[in-house]
């Protein structure tokens, strides 16, 4: 199924340039016409010469805005408290505030620039401090992007966030809240779906925005936790995922890679209202059995209203919702007394952001995530039902800094309700940030 889908995209990709070339039959200009063109050009040049003034005085001429590389450094630092002593129990995201008191989980060096006339390059290197105040380094993203393919095609290759839904591919400083939605942590692990691989994209030549994307990845490790991930080590030194001892599955065929297709479209409802719709999926094997596979499906909606007289971007109102569902084929683990079964999980988050006055936004997010079909107590706890509600308020001192206060209240099936309050401060140095819609 998935191979067939990607295959037909490739075939289409090959066909389009051919069709395009066939259409471009240039009508040969007659010699007379050519001479007339040349005459006009000569006249233009003569005119330019006659009009040319002495060279402008040594006034500062326009300086190019960018050098070989744009460099920026962005820091997100947190201060806060959680009702549970181990804040990580309430905040599973890797860039979330991680402990009571102060924490710094995202100091990001971002580099980008044109590699040559055909490619652009991007890199994001993240530094973060852990509970023992050590510094972890993470090569979050490092990829190239094609700039000169024909027929609306584009290729991204390297290490990058999979374009699944809206938030997964966004960097923490563009999020509307200090933490990642629970459902994304459940499906993709603490740090989002991020892999080495390649992504093909085709912008359809339609009057409305319509983009087809296919990501192909290794699908291994904690950044693809629903796929070929060995899991956490238990007390006996056995690595387990949802109670099952895992085994490392090498890539036997291209079918063992992780495939992430996406389709996205957008409509301008009015001059000041825009709607973006998307549907995504991820298919690949997991490590709980010889032929166990995982499928994740997602749908996302983003709506934005911005005043036609917006000043500095305010006032505005946005609504963003993502739904994700997963079928995880868990292999049998007879030693652990677990049968082969399919685990179903689903969840969603929905959030609004209201920028009511210049520099200020109010946000509200509601979340729900749940799982069923598990025989193991441990697996059930990892996949229990959780709900969270989070209001926040943000003040942007400029485009390059912000202060955010957020409150979380969380309901958990197998644990006490939890509360947390976080104050986050962001500052950015260097290149001017330009964000996608």
């Amino acid at each position: 199924m998935k191979i067939g889908f990607s295959g037909s995209i490739f075939v289409l990709a090959l066909l389009i340039p051919l069709v395009g070339n066939a259409g471009e039959v240039e009508s040969a200009n007659s010699a007379k016409e050519e001479i007339r063109q040349l005459q006009l050009r000569v006249e233009d040049l003569e005119k330019q010469l006659s009009e040319s003034k002495p060279p402008a005085p040594a006034a500062p001429t326009m300086r190019a805005g960018s050098a070989y590389m744009n460099v920026s450094f962005d820091v997100l630092a947190n201060l806060g408290w959680s009702s549970t002593p181990d804040a990580k129990k309430l905040q599973p995201g890797d860039h979330d505030p991680s402990q009571r008191g102060f924490s710094l989980r995202n100091a990001e060096l971002a580099l980008d620039g044109a590699v040559d006339p055909y490619l652009k390059g991007f890199a994001n290197i993240v530094l973060k401090t852990d509970a023992s105040d050590g510094t972890e380094i993470e090569l979050e993203e490092a990829y190239l992007l094609s700039t000169s393919l024909p027929a609306g095609l584009q290729i991204k290759a390297g290490r990058f966030f999979a374009e699944f839904g809206r938030q997964n591919a966004q960097h923490p400083h563009t999020w509307a809240f200090v933490d990642e939605p629970l459902v994304l942590n459940r499906m993709f692990g603490s740090d989002g779906l991020r892999q080495n691989g390649v992504r093909f994209s085709w912008l359809a030549p339609t009057p409305n925005y319509l983009e087809f994307i296919l990501g192909v990845f290794n699908g291994q490790g904690g950044d693809a936790s629903s796929f070929r991930f060995l899991g956490e080590t238990d007390a006996n030194g056995v690595e387990r995922v949802y109670g099952r001892a895992t085994q490392d599955r090498p890539l036997d065929s291209v079918g063992d890679l992780l495939y992430v297709p996406r389709i996205a479209s957008s409509f301008d409802l009015t001059d000041s209202q825009t709607l973006v719709l998307g549907a995504s999926a991820a298919f690949g094997p997991n490590n709980t059995g010889g032929d166990a596979r995982t499928a994740i499906y997602g749908a996302d909606v983003y709506w934005k209203w911005k005043s036609p007289r917006a000043e500095g971007g305010w006032p505005f109102l946005t609504w963003q919702t993502e739904f994700l569902g997963r079928n995880f084929q868990a292999g049998a683990d007879l030693t652990a007394g677990l049968p082969a079964e399919t685990l179903h999980d689903w969840g969603l988050y929905s959030q609004i952001q209201w920028g009511w006055a210049r520099r200020w936004t109010l946000g509200l997010r509601g979340e729900y995530v749940t799982g069923d079909g598990s025989a193991s107590g441990e697996a059930a706890a990892e996949r229990s039902t959780e709900a969270r509600v989070s209001p926040d308020v943000t003040w942007y001192s400029s485009e390059f800094s912000k202060f955010r206060l957020q409150y979380n209240h969380e309901w958990r099936e197998h644990a006490r309700e939890g509360d947390a309050v976080w104050l986050q401060v962001e500052f950015m140095l260097g290149a001017h940030a330009a964000h996608k819609f």
Binding site: G65, P117, T274, V276, G312, S398
Partner: protein, 310 residues
Amino acid sequence: MKIKTIILKTALALAVFLGTSASGLAKLNVVATTSDLGSIAHEIGGDLIQVTVLAKPMEDVHFVDPKPSYVVKLAHADVLLEGGAELEIGWLPPLLEGARNQKLGAGQPGRVGCAEGLSLLEVPALLDRSQGDLHAAGNPHFLIDPVNARHAAKRIYSAFSEVDPAHRAGYRERLETFTRRLDEKLPAWQKALAPFSGRRVVAFHNSWPYFAQRFGLKIDLFLEPKPGIPPTPAHLAEVIDRMKAEKIGVIIVEPFQNRKTAETVANRTGAVLIDVTQYPGGIKGTEGGYIELMDYLVNTLANALSGKTR
């Protein structure tokens, strides 16, 4: 077998689709980031081109949302006209990345940065954001000087005739008409504002140095304490004191700027508050195009400065 027929049918449908869109390319498809560039493009292209403007004329051009529909417009464009000098830096790069249009690649004839070749004012000696949101290349609001508009028109003409050489003669005729009109109008505009030479006008944001220089005004006192930083009470008090001391009688405000703040200052100083714009269509009466916009600005300012508006 079935898959083959499906692929063949899809390819056929695509061929028909691309074929029809190719026949629609008789007109040069021009995208302009702002409506002033769009209006000059129309002066030069006339019926030979089809112009799409991205930023709405009332909108703050530094903060345009890079909507997906703009990606599509750029993907279909033959020519992109941008101000350049970082005016569109916050939103154009991701749009171009998404549009993946080879014709608009850096250095292509279809990519027209209208600031190129101009000596911009206020190029900062030091890039220091404690001084507000500065533009490394200089002040990007250059097109509001008619002499710079003349320069932009020439650049646009060169681009059109390079991308669409078959219509060079038509473009040149229209360029000459537009340039002649500008050359006729400029002395009249200068004459209308000449009686107020050296007078100071208060603006919300530092977007008028080119206009001030051309017409002998001083527009160097701003409601914003620093570029991009919203007015503070302390700074406004300073501005009010200075306006009273120097008897400054006119404040100008653009459609997206906070009119209430400007009204407060006007009330406290007895100054006249007038609505202005740099973009055709930003204010009623400026929809006609660049020349109508300049007419509006010069007349409104002359009236306000002579006390007729009061």
